[in-house]
Symmetry: D2
C-alpha cells in the first residue's frame, strides 16, 4: 500500500515526530510505502508530492515545524478540488490513502472526503488544545513551557520595578494555554475566552496582588474579549485614537489596568515563538506514539477515524467525535485556578 | 483545623508547588491553618515544625526541591516513633492531620498510620513514575525533559565521532524515564528493568543502527540488569578487575558494547541533574492541582486516601490502590517503542 | 566603612550577582558594612534603606532582577535632591560612600555627584551594550541568548509556511543585540539604528533569501528608523490609518515587506522577555567579577571611577570615559555580518 | 582557489558555525571554492573529501558537532602521511590550501605542515579554553552554560537533603570551566589542576559552608589531582578496594569528603553533555566571526597563522603564539573566585 501524508494549518512542534513515527513503523513493521504531500491539501489538489522514506525522516523527532510544508488550502475549493478530482489524482499516483495531520478545519475536510469515498485517517493537531476527543494534542505542552518560561522572565522585571506585567498568549477560541501557563507561572489574573470579565474585575485582582506586595502578572488569551472595551476606553478618559488597534488584546488591556489601578503596566505579546522550535519531550512522545498508531490503523483499515490520546493510551475515534464543538476550558477548571489568585 | 505538611524520600521538582497549592487554597478558600514539618517523618517523630503561611509559599511554583527538607526516616522506628507517640506529639502541637507527600515507602507508612488512627492524606511523589493509581506523578516530566535534552547533546558528539553513546537515566525498578526519553531522543536501544536483555541483543541493535550510518544511542535505566553480566565480561576477554564497580550500569555496558560491535562507545551517567531544578510547566500544573485538591480533600475529611491524576482529572484513591505492586512499563509500551529501533 | 548600594534604570539580569559579589568580598575579605538603597536614587534622596548582609545575598547569582528595586529618579531633582541634601542624608545614616549600578543616566549623575563631593563608585549596567569603556556589560549576553532562542523558534514557523519572519529586539540607540542575535540565528537582514536603510533595500534582501528557497528572517532593533516610513506606506498603497501606531517598528515593517516582496510576513516583538529571568553563565561571571572588584576599589578609595571589562580583565576607568558618546556598532562590524546575508 | 576544510580532535559546539562562516564569506564575497575533508587529518591523508557548497552549510550555525566528522589522526603517521604525501594528495585534488579547525595537537601539526610547505590556516578549537593567543575559544561558553545549569539543578537536591554535592566538569589540564561554572553557580569550593589542594583543605571549605547552613557545592575539574589521594583513602579507613577506579575524580572525592565532614555527599560526573548540542549565542557569534575572518585571511594569503579573539576583535596570530604552553588559570583569577567561598 502507498500512503500519502500531509500536514495542514498552522505549524506545531511535533508534526515532524508524527511523520517519522508513521514512516518508521509503516516501513519496518509493515510493508507500507509513503509519499509526502506538499503544503497540506494544496499538494493533494495539485498532485505535488515528495519522496518520504526512512531516510527523509532521520532525526526528525526533535525538529520543529514540518518538512512537508503546510497551507490553509481547502480541498473542496478550486478547479482541481473536490472528492472526484482528488480521487483521480490519487489514483493517478497510485496513492491508496491519506494521513491528514491537522486541526478542526483539516479534520472536517477529512471527514467530508472520507464520506465521499476517499480513504483518510486523521491525526489531531492543535497548539491551542481546542479539539475534543483527545486529552491533549501535541504542541500544546511545548507552547505552555515556552509561555511559562517567558512569564518567569517577565516576573523578575515586574518585581524589580513594582510593575504589573500583562502577557498575551495564544488561544483564539479557548484558554488552555493561558490557564496552564498562568497556573505554572503563578499569575494573579487569567483572562480566557470562556470566562467573560470586565476591566474592573481584572483591575480588582491586580490591586489585590499589588496590595499584598506582589508585582501582578496578568495572563490573557489572544481571543479574550473584554466586556465593554470601547466604553472602558472612553470611561477612563483614554484617547480613543491612541488605543492600540493592530496590537493584541494585551496591548489594549495594559493602559486600562494602569489607569484604573495606578500601577505601572506593561504588555508583552508572546506571539509566534509559542509555536516554533524543538518540541518538549512530552510532545515528542505523544506525537511519535500518534504516528506509530496511525501506521497500525492503516494496516487495520481504520479509515475515517483519527488517533487520539485518552489517559495514557492512544485510541481511535470517529471524526465526528472530534468535530462540532471545541474543547473549551470548563468552568471548574477556571475556578480551580482562580483559588490561587488571592 | 491545623494541618501539618511533610515531604519525604528523594527530592523531586514540584514538591514546593504542591505545598504552595495546599496552603493558598486552604487559607484563602477555607479556614485552614498549616505548619511545615521538617525533613519528612523525622519532623513528625521529633516534633520539629516551622511556620507555613501564605508568606512562606510565595513564588514557590517554579522552585525545585522542597523548602520543608526531606529525609528517609521511618515513622515507626526510634524511641519517639510509632502511632501512639506520634498521636501525642500531634495532639501536643494541636495538629489535626497530616498531608504526606512522598513515594511508596511514605505512602505505606501513611496507610499504616492511618489505620492506626492518625489522620493522614497522601500526595504521590515519584520521579520514576513507579506508583500505581496515578497516570503520572510530578517530577517525571521534568526528568524526562532533562534526560531528553542531555541525549540531544550526546547525539551531536556521537554523530561527529561515529561513536555509540550510552546514556544511563534514573529508574531503579521501572523504565519509564528511559522509555519516554529514549523515544523522544530517537534511541536505537532502550534497556529497562522490565525487559531482560543479553549483551548480544543490545549489541545487535547497536550494529544495526551503525550499519545504517547512524551513531547509535543506547538508553539504559539505572536498574537494568544485564543477563549474565559477569559471564559477558569474561567471555569477551575483558579484564574483570578493570570492570567498573562503583559506576552505574551504563559504565559497565559501554566496554562490552565496544568489544562486541567494534564501535567506539562512551557512557554518561546523568545522575542527580534529573531530579533537581525548576519543574517543567506540566509538573508545575500537576503539582499545583494536586495541592489544591489536597486542601479540598481535607475539608471533606477524606483521610486515608491520596489525590491522584486520572486522564485530565484529579481524583481521590485509597492508599491501597497505590501500594503493593509498582507501576511497571507494560510490554506493549516497550514493543511500541521498539518499532522505532530499526 | 559603611557603603550603600543602589541599582538604577531598567532591570537587567546580573544586578543581583553584582550585589552579591560586592557584599561577599567586602564582608569576608575586608571589614566593610553594607546597606541596600531602595529603588535607585529615590532611596538616596528619601533615605530609604534596607539591611544588606551576607544573609540577604545568599543564592543571588542566578536570580534575575534586583532585590533592591529600581527607579528612574534623578538625584538632582525634588525637594530633598541635590548633592548637599544627599550629603546630609548619607551623613545622618553614617554611610561613607555609594556604589551605583546603572546605565548612562545613572553614571552621569554619579559623575556629577562625585564632582560635588559625594563618594560614588560606578558599575556599568546596560542590556543594550551601549556604554563605552567596557567591552561588554552584563545582561547583554542573556538578552542575546533569549533573542537567539526565540528566532530559532520563529524560523521553524517561517520554514513550514514559507513566510518571512520579522523579529524586533531591544536596542533603542544601538544595534548590538540585533547584530549578535541576528548573526547567531542566521538572519537574512539586520536593521539597526546605526545603519539607515530604505524599505526597498530590506525587501531586496528578503527577496534574495526567498529566491534561494529560504524563509527570510529579518531582525530589527526597536530603535531602527526606516528611511521614509510615511512615504513608504502611502507609496505602497497601504491604508495609513491601519498602520500600526503603538506597536513596534517590527509591526510597521511587516506589511511593507509583504506588500513589496509578495512573501507572507509576520512580526514578533520580543519585548520584556529579553531583560528578565536568570542570567547566562557569562553574565553571572561578569557581574560577580564586577562586584568583587568594586569591593576592592572601595578599599583602595578609587571613588569617582567605574569598574569595567577589558578583554578578560576587570579594570577601573574614570566616569568620563564611559560617558558622552554611546558605544555604537561600528560599520565594519555591520559589514562583517552582512557578508552572511547573501 | 580551492580550499579544503577539516575539523579535528574532540567535537565542540560551534564547529559547524565556523564552516558555515568560511563558506558563505568565501563564496559570496570572494571567488573561493571549498571541499570538506572527512574526519580531520584522516581525510587529508586518505584523500577523503566531500562537497562543501553554500547548500551544505545551510542552517548550520545552531547545529552542534561537525558535519565533516572528526578524528584524532596524526597527519605525519601512516603510510600515506607526511608532508610530501599530503602535498601530492592535495595537488591531485587541486586543493590549494587547508583550513584546520582544531586544538593544540591539530595546530601543532598545522604548524609543522606549514613549515614543510603546505598552505594551512588555523582556527583554534578547545572546549577547555586551554589555548593561548585567543581570549576565548568557541564551545567554552556553551560548556560553562551547560555545567552551570546542571549545578543549579544539583543545588536544589543538596538544599532539600542538606547534602554536599560534588560536580565534576571537563578540564583535563586547565580549570577554566570549573572556575567559571563554579563562580556562576555559587560553588563553595573549586578544585582545578592549577591549584593543588589536600582533601583536608577541601573538607574545611565544605564544613565552613555547612556550618553556615548552606548545602555545600564542590566543583572539580576532571584533571584535578588530589594531594595524597591514596594516603587519604587509607588514612580515613576507607576500603581501598572499593575506591572507585574507573569513575572520575569526583567519584573519588565524594566518599572522602563525607568521611571527614560527616556531611552526606554525592558526586555527579557531567561528562559528554558539556560538549554537545546547540552552541550558545556567544559561541555562534565567535565561531561565525572566526569563519568569516578565516576566509579573509585566505584571500590575503595569511597562511601559517591562525585567527583568534582579542577583546572584541578577531585578529591573526602565528601558530607559535598559540602553542608551547597552555592557557592555564592564573593564580589571581582563582583567588578572585575564592573570595566567594566564605
Amino acid at each position: 500500500m502507498k500512503i500519502g501524508i500531509l500536514t495542514s494549518g498552522g505549524d506545531c512542534p511535533g508534526l515532524n515526530a508524527v511523520i517519522r513515527g508513521v514512516v518508521l513503523k509503516g516501513t519496518t513493521s509493515y510493508d507500507l510505502e509513503f509519499v509526502g504531500i506538499r503544503d497540506g491539501w494544496r499538494g493533494v489538489v495539485e498532485g505535488d508530492f515528495m519522496p518520504l522514506t526512512r531516510h527523509e525522516v532521520k532525526g526528525l523527532s526533535k525538529i520543529g515545524g514540518t518538512i512537508l510544508g503546510t497551507s490553509r488550502t481547502n480541498p473542496y475549493e478550486g478547479e482541481r478540488g473536490g472528492a472526484d478530482n482528488i480521487a483521480k489524482t490519487l489514483y493517478g499516483h497510485k496513492i491508496d490513502g491519506i494521513i491528514a495531520i491537522g486541526g478542526e478545519g483539516t479534520l472536517a475536510a477529512a471527514d467530508r472526503l472520507s464520506k465521499d469515498g476517499i480513504k483518510v485517517l486523521g491525526v489531531p493537531k492543535t497548539i491551542d488544545n481546542d479539539l475534543r476527543a483527545t486529552d491533549y494534542s501535541f504542541g500544546f505542552d511545548t507552547a505552555v513551557n515556552i509561555a511559562t518560561d517567558a512569564m518567569d522572565r517577565l516576573r523578575t522585571t515586574g518585581d524589580s520595578h513594582q510593575r504589573c506585567m500583562v502577557a498575551e498568549v495564544m488561544g483564539r477560541h479557548v484558554g488552555w494555554i493561558a490557564l496552564h501557563a498562568g497556573m505554572a507561572a503563578g499569575a494573579h489574573a487569567i483572562c480566557i475566552p470562556e470566562v467573560p470579565m470586565s476591566i474592573d474585575e481584572i483591575a480588582a485582582q491586580v490591586t489585590s496582588a499589588h496590595d499584598r506586595g506582589r508585582a501582578p502578572l496578568v495572563v490573557v488569551s489572544e481571543g479574550f474579549k473584554l466586556k465593554g472595551m470601547d466604553e472602558a476606553y472612553s470611561d477612563k478618559g483614554l484617547d480613543a485614537f491612541n488605543r492600540p488597534r493592530l496590537g493584541g488584546i494585551g496591548d489594549q488591556l495594559a493602559p486600562l489596568i494602569e489607569q484604573i489601578t495606578g500601577v505601572e503596566t506593561r504588555a508583552t505579546i508572546l506571539g509566534h515563538i509559542q509555536r516554533g522550535g524543538s518540541p518538549s519531550a512530552f510532545d515528542r512522545v505523544l506525537a511519535t506514539r500518534l504516528g506509530l498508531h496511525a501506521a497500525d490503523a492503516i494496516v487495520d483499515g481504520a479509515w475515517g477515524q483519527m488517533v487520539a490520546m485518552k489517559g495514557t493510551d492512544i485510541v481511535r475515534v470517529p471524526f465526528e467525535e472530534a468535530l462540532g464543538e471545541l474543547n473549551t476550558v470548563p468552568r471548574y477548571r477556571y475556578d480551580e485556578a482562580a483559588a490561587l489568585f488571592g
